[in-house]
Structure formats: structure tokens, C-alpha cells
């Protein structure tokens, strides 16, 4: 019991420190780089709609997840993973909608750099995901464990990359 309390205290303090460092980092990045992410008026509108769709996706996901527990009687997915999956699905919907409407990459950003970063992120996560499948850590006690999150992040990176590539291929409407 005391060990649990110690663990919880450590976890909360660690979480607060990481959150504070992260918030400071974001603050400095935002204030030092005045030209961060410049979108034109159409892109701002599209992104607003994408945020709305992502938000409703999150609500629907949570409803479906909650109902699945009620109907099936138990959860087949670890709570933290389910929480993360909800965020990932919403972010994916947002990103796909933005990419499809040419509002994902800011005017002052290089698409190549962003896509390269996405490929690296996806590859690392897919490798970690596959290795957790091989080692058998993916499913614990009949539930999808937190180790599955790497696979989800990898899969979503791939979806975003494919959408971007498809959009590039289909962009012959031009001049």
C-alpha cells in the first residue's frame, strides 16, 4: 500500500515536471519564432473545419468505446492504450482532412522535411510495434497492452504519409 502511494507520488511529480518543461519549451519556441506556421485565410478555414471533425470523431470514438464495454461486458484494450488510440484517431482524421484540402503544411514550411520526419517517426514506431508482436507483449491477459501504442502511432504515420503521397499524385487539376 505504501509502495503504491510512493509510486503514485513519484508518478505525479514526474508528470508535473515533464508537463512544466514541455510547456516552457512550447512557450519559448512560440515566442522566439515569430514566423511559426503561417496559413492563408482558406487554410485557416479548412483547419477550423478539420478541428471540428476531429473533435466529433473523438466524441464518437469515446461513445463507441464506452458502449463496447457495456455490450461486451469487458474491455479488450488497456485503458491507457484506448485513451491514446482515441487521440490518435482524432489527430489522424484532422490530418487527413487538412492534407486533402491543402491546409496541412504551412506556407513557410517545407513539405519534404515534414514528410521525412513523418516517415522516420512511422518507421521507428512500426519497428517497435512489430518487435512487441514478436516478443508477445502486444496482448497481455487477453487485452491489447500499452505496447500496441507504437503500432498505432506507426500505422497513423503511414496513413498520413499515404494520404499526402496520394494527394501529390492526384494534383493535376492545376493551371
Amino acid at each position: 500500500m505504501s509502495d503504491n502511494a510512493e509510486f503514485l507520488r513519484g508518478f505525479i511529480i514526474g508528470f508535473i515536471i515533464v508537463a512544466a518543461v514541455f510547456a516552457l519549451l512550447i512557450y519559448f519556441v512560440m515566442h522566439r519564432n515569430k514566423e511559426a506556421c503561417e496559413y492563408d485565410e482558406r487554410q485557416v478555414l479548412v483547419r477550423g473545419k478539420a478541428f471540428k471533425i476531429g473533435f466529433f470523431t473523438s466524441i464518437i470514438y469515446n461513445y463507441v468505446y464506452g458502449m463496447s464495454i457495456v455490450v461486451l461486458g469487458k474491455s479488450y484494450i488497456d485503458q491507457t492504450t484506448a485513451f491514446l488510440l482515441g487521440i490518435l484517431v482524432s489527430v489522424c482524421v484532422f490530418a487527413v482532412y487538412c492534407i486533402w484540402n491543402d491546409a496541412y503544411i504551412a506556407l513557410n514550411r517545407s513539405p519534404k522535411k515534414i514528410m521525412a520526419l513523418l516517415v522516420i517517426l512511422g518507421a521507428f514506431n512500426l519497428v517497435a510495434g512489430v518487435s512487441s508482436i514478436i516478443s508477445g507483449e502486444m496482448i497481455e491477459d487477453g487485452m491489447l497492452s500499452f505496447h500496441a501504442s507504437n503500432l498505432f502511432v506507426g500505422a497513423i504515420s503511414v496513413i498520413i504519409f499515404i494520404t499526402y503521397a496520394l494527394k501529390r499524385v492526384l494534383k493535376h487539376e492545376d493551371e
Partner: protein, 63 residues
């Protein structure tokens, strides 16, 4: 409804969509969307486009 007047005014100055987009500070896709009639620009952007193409608002955006 397609904005052919904008397209022809741009072509008359031998500007590509990308060049016009750079001049007015928007993406090429936004210029494309305006020409195709998929997006209604704000009055600010309309004025910027008119200035760059040496046309009036009536000439480019009035039916």
C-alpha cells in the same frame, strides 16, 4: 462558378498560379480554388489580387 476573369487577367500578365500566390501571400491551391469557384476570398485578398493584376474589383470579381 468559375472565375475565368481572374484566370485570364493572370494569364495576360504571364503569371503562374504559384507566382500570383507568392505575390499576395497565399498558397497556390488557394488561387486555384478561387479560379475554380471553390472558395470565396475575403475582400482583403480580393483587393490584394486586384492590386497585383492591375485590375479593379469590378473587373475581376463582379459578375
Amino acid at each position: 462558378m468559375k472565375n475565368l476573369k481572374l484566370k485570364s487577367a493572370r494569364a495576360a500578365l504571364d503569371l503562374s498560379q504559384q507566382q500570383l500566390a507568392d505575390l499576395v501571400g497565399v498558397s497556390r491551391q488557394t488561387i486555384n480554388a478561387i479560379e475554380k469557384g471553390d472558395y470565396n476570398p475575403t475582400i482583403k485578398l480580393c483587393i490584394d489580387i486586384c492590386r497585383q493584376l492591375n485590375r479593379t474589383l469590378d473587373e475581376l470579381f463582379w459578375e
